[in-house]
């Protein structure tokens, strides 16, 4: 499945050379193009400060809350330009962004966290059945549904953050480093659920990860972002075989950055 055969109709999301400015001066993203096929799973990889979270915030509109702005390029969701739409209206369109750091509502119970995310138009009965669906995905949450969410374990909070996002009935789920700080078995559990929902419900997923090894197991394509630019874009299989990625993520890089690896820059593709 070559993504570059730009059959944009099959893309639920396409970013076309977007630039993002923070505080009107700091250019954090310098021309990023990313596509997510309908029903597909795509990963954005890259090291700290590369611009992965900024890319997701541009898509969800949350940049607004941090005085950031898409200064160039276009963002299309389901064939429609969404650059001027308010964040809450993008959620209604079907984009949900699980932000970095499992920000659950600490003083609400897990049950209330889920309820808070249900669309206003959703009926009582539907809310109930949707909550049950989340508890089925994440049985640990069911056991603790009346606890204070602030006291849940890291893994439980991440599950809650994902369940909460699913309550908004997204068609595109964006996850920002869901594996951060979690034990490998929990990462496997969470990624397994994401994969299952993707298969069963056709949910499209854009996954931001530093844990490339885990991410490349479940996605079909990956983008590598460095310094606000996409420097590589390929199928998950090809990326796994790539020696730079192996070197970097298996710890052989000795603190090297991607742009410092010489033969790497020769092969990079500037998509913008």
């Amino acid at each position: 499945m070559a993504q570059n055969d730009s059959n944009t109709k099959d893309m639920i999301l396409s970013l076309n050379s977007i630039e993002v400015l923070y505080d009107s001066v700091l250019l954090a993203i310098k021309g990023v193009s990313v596509e997510v096929p309908r029903g597909g799973m795509v990963a954005l990889l890259g090291s700290n400060g590369a611009g992965k979270s900024t890319t997701l915030k541009a898509i969800s509109g949350l940049l607004k809350a941090e005085r950031g702005k898409v200064s160039r390029g276009e963002i299309k969701f389901d064939g429609k330009l969404i650059g001027d739409i308010l964040p809450q209206d993008r959620v209604a369109l079907g984009i949900c962004h699980v932000i970095e750091g499992r920000r659950v509502f600490d003083h609400l119970t897990p049950d209330e966290n889920l309820e808070a995310a249900a669309p206003i138009s959703m009926s009582r009965a539907k809310i109930k059945s949707e909550k049950e669906r989340m508890y089925e995905y994440f049985p640990r949450l069911a056991e603790r549904k009346s606890a204070q969410s602030g006291y849940l374990s890291g893994g439980e909070q991440q599950m809650l953050a994902i369940g909460r996002a699913l309550m908004t009935q997204p068609r595109l789920l964006m996850l920002d480093e869901p594996s951060l700080g979690l034990a490998p078995f929990l990462v496997a559990e969470i990624f397994g659920i994401i994969q299952r929902i993707n298969k069963e419900q056709g949910l499209s997923v854009l996954l931001v990860e530093q844990n490339a090894v885990a991410a490349l197991e479940i996605v079909s394509h990956g983008y590598l972002i460095e310094n606000g630019r996409v420097v590589m874009h390929d199928t998950a299989g090809a990326l796994k075989e790539n020696s730079d990625i192996q070197e970097f993520y298996l710890g052989g890089g000795e603190g090297k950055n991607f742009h410092e690896i010489k033969h790497y820059s020769r092969r990079k593709r500037w998509l913008s």
Binding site: L62, P87, V91, C96, R103, H107, A117
Partner: protein
């Protein structure tokens, strides 16, 4: 020590304290959703009272029409203030926002003074001034009514915060960004809390207007309300009630004890001491859940 007198002081103090809680509940509603201590809550209370008087005295309508109508108008005024003055300040330093609420306070006081003048008016709520005895204790009826209103609002808001809308407001107060990320309209939530706080201001204005007359001094209630809110923890409705009772009792019993030594006027000193000591020793108050250092 005269035990009957002491218990009378205590109960009356608690009742007065619950009247302070009314002011504090308004402050807490806004603080909960937006972490802003609304310095205009006293002026809103006074404005609420004047709007009721405009209908009941100027137009001669009965209070059961005037008060609900004033509540609707104040709800819209509260939402309007948030929309026009505060929304554009979102994300700015808290000092700017504080200065804005102070500006609103001055604006409301100036406007009410220009329209209604400086003389004191009474609400004529129709609550009897006959003495009311509970056992041997002499209590004030209007204070009992006011305390009942405070308790009713307290219960009402506890229930409200369990509804879907209430859960969303609590979500907003927990985490703005996360609320946005799941499609909650944070601005509308904050606007709603200003509207609700302004409705509470009508109830507060009517009760306090009956207690001490409606004039500019009603806006000074802010200081007592703020002290109660800070002691309670700024974002806790339960805290507003408990702290109101505590402050009221401290004030009434303490003043009776201290006044002979300092020659009167110790009430304000007690309030000041409570405020200062709370900020120094327990900045998040009795029931507050965050440190309030970001204020």
């Amino acid at each position: 020590m005269d035990w009957i007198f002491l218990s009378e002081l205590t109960v009356n103090g608690a009742l007065t304290g619950l009247l302070y809680s009314l002011v504090a509940i308004g402050l807490v509603l806004i603080y909960k959703s937006s972490a802003v201590p609304n310095l205009a809550q006293g002026a809103l209370t006074m404005t609420g009272a004047y709007v009721v008087l405009a209908f009941s005295h100027n137009l001669g309508w009965p209070l059961w029409v005037a008060i609900p109508l004033a509540a609707v108008i104040m709800f819209l005024l509260g939402m309007g203030i948030e929309r026009v003055a505060l929304r554009r300040l979102a994300g700015r330093p808290i000092v700017m926002i504080l200065m804005m609420t102070m500006g609103i306070d001055i604006f409301l006081r100036g406007t009410t003074l220009a329209i209604w003048g400086g003389s004191s008016r009474s609400v004529n709520l129709g609550v009897s001034y006959d003495p009311f005895f509970l056992g041997d204790m002499l209590l004030s009826r209007i204070h009992i009514v006011g305390a009942a209103v405070a308790i009713a609002l307290f219960v009402g808001f506890l229930l409200f915060f369990r509804t879907r809308l209430g859960i969303r407001l609590r979500a907003i107060s927990d985490d703005y960004l996360a609320s946005w990320s799941i499609g909650i309209s944070v601005e509308r939530g904050v606007g709603l809390s200003w509207g609700l706080a302004s409705v509470v201001a009508v109830a507060t204005g009517v009760i306090w207007g009956e207690v001490q007359g409606v004039d500019q001094s009603l806006s000074v209630l802010l200081l007592k309300g703020l002290t109660v809110a800070v002691l309670g923890g700024l974002d806790s409705i339960v805290g507003a009630i408990v702290a109101g009772i505590i402050l009221g009792i401290l004030e009434s019993v303490g003043a009776d004890f201290l006044d002979p030594f300092v020659g009167g006027g110790s009430r304000d000193l007690i309030v000041a001491a409570v405020l200062i000591l709370t900020v120094m020793i327990r900045p998040h108050g009795l029931f507050g859940r965050h440190d309030i250092e970001r204020v």
